[in-house]
């Protein structure tokens, strides 16, 4: 029994779990205070925030789709971080993937969905991957900081998408400003809950999530990525092709983001539009950071944030509390989690100090007899 618990302890980081629960609690508390101060019906608002996602099929479906997006974006960030490259450019990779997937659908509107959909997916993956390859190769060959390049590339992506969706690839209808033409209905993923955003894309995402977890945690490739991410000099010293691993991790991260863009178009929107992603990747990035770039926490935290997000939307609709309360809560969680390491270290230190004191006393009393 004792052995079982020590194994469990080794596998699960209880300190992290405790910190997560506490920070969620603190964040909700802060939310409560703000709600009370601003004069809303606190009980009702909180109830809506936490339970809103489960209030109807529509909300539930939208919540799950959002969790899927967050989770894939978070995992994309995990993949890069594992090899020591921080992909901040997922937003650009995502919207470019969405744009190209949408336009491929337009080009292939008369062919069978069995050809068009895979083509669109491959196109999105290729574009996302290529867009991540640029900062990857710059980092490896010229030591250019990837955070800077990816942020810049995000802006470029926004302008590229703006240009194409308002220009050459614009829906010819004069009533729209910056959308591509709508997809052939038969190209869309089947909805799992009618009218909601939830489609069969979530099944593919679940498979993909499992695959990422498996590769990162259980394979030789994942092991090599971790070595490179932890200490690139050591990895090179030990004979790993560190540069190649970094680039591959970055490209895979970009591919995943591109595919998320495709999912957004083929699962929910039905075309490219500028609202295809509202900084969804950045939210996924925050999820990954809170999860300390570990796959399983990334999945769990994606779900929590999705529940709160659609709960907040519900709260806005029913109680009238602005959705900004969700942002406040999310930010508070990030703050608390950022302090998690410090708090844990302080607790650890105090504990060790007490143990040392006890040891001194014990040795003073019993020590002489031993010598």
């Amino acid at each position: 029994m004792k052995a079982f618990f020590s194994r469990l302890k080794q596998r699960f980081d209880f300190g992290y779990l405790v910190a997560l629960v506490i920070s969620l609690f603190v964040a909700l508390l802060i939310g409560t205070v703000i709600l009370t101060v601003t004069g809303y019906d606190t009980g009702k608002a909180l109830g809506a925030l936490v339970g809103g996602s489960f209030s109807s099929k529509l909300y539930f479906g939208n919540m799950l789709e959002y969790a899927m997006v967050l989770c894939l974006c978070g995992l994309a960030c995990d993949v890069g971080s594992r090899a020591g490259i921080f992909n901040v450019g997922g937003e650009g990779q995502l919207i470019l993937g969405a744009l190209f997937a949408a336009q491929i659908g337009v080009w292939l509107k008369d062919v069978s969905p069995w050809i068009a959909i895979p083509c669109a997916a491959l196109g999105a993956i290729a574009v996302g991957g290529f867009y991540a390859f640029i900062p990857g190769i710059l980092k490896v060959k010229l030591k250019v900081n990837e955070v800077i390049t990816t942020i810049m590339l995000n802006s470029i992506a926004v302008f590229i998408c703006g240009y194409f969706s308002k220009g050459p690839w614009k829906n010819p209808s004069p009533r729209v400003v910056s959308d591509t033409s709508p997809l052939n209905r038969s190209f869309m993923f089947t909805k799992l809950i009618p009218a909601s955003n939830l489609s069969t894309a979530i099944l593919i995402s679940a498979g993909l999530t499992f695959l990422v977890w498996y590769i990162l945690q259980k394979t030789t490739k994942g092991y090599e990525m971790r070595l490179v991410g932890d200490n690139p000099r050591f990895a090179r010293f030990a004979g790993l092709k560190a540069d190649r691993i970094v680039i591959i991790a970055m490209v895979v991260s970009g591919m995943m983001c591109g595919l998320v863009g495709m999912f957004r178009v083929y699962g929910a929107a039905g075309k490219y539009q500028s609202s295809i992603s509202n900084d969804y990747y950045f939210e996924g990035l925050m999820v990954a950071m809170i999860a300390q770039y570990q796959p399983i926490p990334t999945i769990i935290i994606s779900l929590i944030f999705a529940v709160l997000k659609w709960g907040a939307i519900y709260m806005e609709d029913t109680v009238g509390v602005p959705i900004q309360i969700y942002w406040i809560i999310q930010t508070a969680v990030i703050f608390c989690m950022a302090g998690e390491k410090g708090v844990r270290a302080a607790i650890h230190k105090a504990r060790e100090k007490r143990a040392a004191q006890r040891e001194i006393l014990a040795r003073r009393e019993g020590g002489e007899a031993h010598e």
Partner: protein, 509 residues
């Protein structure tokens, strides 16, 4: 003689560590007291208490009969205590005089630094204590031995009459060590200074000290008159068991050439030439030792051979194949393993487990993989367990984070991994830096085992004793050039010291 310093029941605890455990010790006026012990025995902690850096958790400290209540370096300096740290605290771009005056600068018009006065003060100090240095030379231009003198002068200028020297000979050549000891003797006899030397080199304890205190695991094991003990006795006190520095049995005859270096040129991190036209070869079944003072190109040389550093000119051959300009991975495939100089930044993944660190380089082997993809964790762990046992790694098991282990055990992880490749060529740098005496023995035995089994070994170490003990042949490097090549049994440490400073006869530099 009277008691200059008295520690009474001093204890010092850091989180999780009892660094000093109930230490009572008196140090007399005008003696040279050596404090010896392995790494982590608590020597530096005890001296840091005396110098006011640490405040003891329990116990009392008396200096000249006065009980110390406020612990701070400033108060310690005011009491006449001076400390020369292992890593010098000098400003390289300042002159000797400026460095000495730093903190107590002579001023003109109340604000401006009076350089002339500072140089005059320095000259007076030099004369008074007989420590020859040029006051107007910039510190970065003078040798390490002289820099140490500047450090000593600096403490004397601040009025120190109790001098603590932390591992003073670690960076010195044998000649410089002898000179330092002359200085210490003079300071003690003529100026009646009290000198405390922290060290783990026992021959130096015998050479310089009047009394010696031995520490182990935070406790003071014993205090002896130096003339009453010998090195063997001290070593066994330090380790807690008899240490046998047996003669290492070297067998076999050298075979084919396995490493060949031809007219090699390599630059350092700043792009300045560090290795300038070095050529040598190592045969199978022999150890070639590199004797050089730190910063004379030995680090860059080994990094170039192993592919960690760019080669500007020249050629490296490993096991008959050209290794010039290849990546570390490609050179490893030619049959080379490498124990790096800096194990923390190059030799391990600190945040990974012992298991993961031992596996590196073997992760693609069939037995650790299914379909070259899925890692067979249980086989990996069994393998790690095996090496853990075989190399006598001591820690909390194979799941321990390597960064939390002691230097010696971390080095065992590195050596276990590198030696397990069983390659015909081994490049080993600083095998026992920061490693205690007990483990040192272990590493030496292992290295000679590999040699006797036919490995070609290129060894670099700052510890000259170690170079002598392990090597068949020794080359000396000075400013990036080879200044001499010797059979280890045909030269003495003193002679080799001359070649290490470029002053040996026939020096090519």
């Amino acid at each position: 003689m009277t008691d200059e310093i008295r520690f009474e029941h001093i204890s010092m605890e850091f989180p999780g560590v009892l660094a000093n455990d109930d230490i009572s010790l008196s140090i007399r006026n005008g003696e040279v007291f050596a404090l010896v012990g392995e790494n982590g025995a608590g020597k530096s902690t005890l001296m840091n208490i005396l110098y006011g850096i640490n405040t003891p958790t329990a116990g009392e400290l008396y200096v000249r009969g006065e009980k110390i209540t406020n612990f701070s370096p400033k108060a310690a300096i005011d009491r006449g205590i001076g400390m020369v740290h292992q890593h010098f605290m000098l400003v390289p771009s300042f002159t000797v005089a400026q460095n000495i005056a730093l903190g107590r600068e002579p001023k003109t018009a109340g604000v401006l630094f009076d350089n002339k006065k500072a140089e005059q003060i320095t000259r007076e100090l030099v004369k008074e204590y007989g420590l020859e240095v040029d006051p107007s030379a910039e510190v970065r231009d003078i040798s390490v031995g002289l820099q140490q003198r500047v450090e000593i002068l600096k403490t004397l200028y601040r009025g120190a009459d109790i001098l603590i020297l932390d591992e003073p000979t670690a960076v010195l050549t044998p000649q410089e060590t002898d000179e330092l000891f002359d200085v210490i003797r003079r300071l003690v006899h003529e100026k009646e200074l009290t000198v405390i030397i922290i060290t783990h080199k026992l021959n130096e304890v015998m050479a310089i000290s009047d009394r010696v205190g031995v520490m182990r695991q935070g406790k003071l094991i014993g205090v002896e008159n130096t003339c009453d003990v010998d090195e063997k006795k001290l070593a066994s006190m330090m380790v807690g068991r008899p240490v046998l520095f047996d003669h290492l049995e070297k067998t076999g005859v050298p075979g084919d050439v396995a490493i060949e270096v031809d007219d090699l040129y390599v630059a350092d991190n700043r792009g300045l030439p560090a290795v300038r036209g070095v050529s040598f070869s190592v045969r199978k079944g022999e150890v070639l030792g590199i004797a050089a003072i730190e910063g004379n190109g030995q680090s860059e040389l080994l990094e170039a051979i192993t592919g960690m550093r760019k080669i500007n000119r020249g050629k490296v051959t490993v096991c008959g194949a050209d290794a010039t300009g290849k990546t570390p991975g490609e050179i490893r495939e030619l049959g080379l393993s490498h124990v790096p100089e800096d194990r923390l930044s190059t030799g391990v993944d600190k945040v990974a487990s012992v298991t993961d660190n031992l596996l590196v380089g073997k992760q693609k082997e069939k037995r650790f993989n299914l379909f070259g993809f899925h890692q067979r964790r249980s086989t990996v762990e069994r393998y790690a367990e095996e090496l853990y046992e075989k190399f006598d790694i001591r820690g909390a098991g194979i799941h321990t984070e390597v960064g939390s282990m002691s230097g010696g055990n971390m080095q065992k992880v590195v050596v276990a991994r590198e030696f397990s490749f069983d390659t015909p060529v081994l490049v080993i740098s600083q095998p026992t830096r920061g490693v205690d005496i007990g483990a040192m023995e272990f590493f030496h035995t292992r290295i000679i085992e590999q040699r006797n089994a036919g490995a070609a070994i290129l060894l670099s170490s700052a510890d000259l004793d170690e170079v002598f003990r392990l090597s068949d042949r020794i080359i000396t490097l000075y400013e990036g050039k080879i200044t001499g090549e010797f059979r280890a049994d045909e030269i003495t440490k003193e002679e080799i010291g001359l070649y290490m400073t470029g002053t040996g006869e026939g020096a090519k530099a």
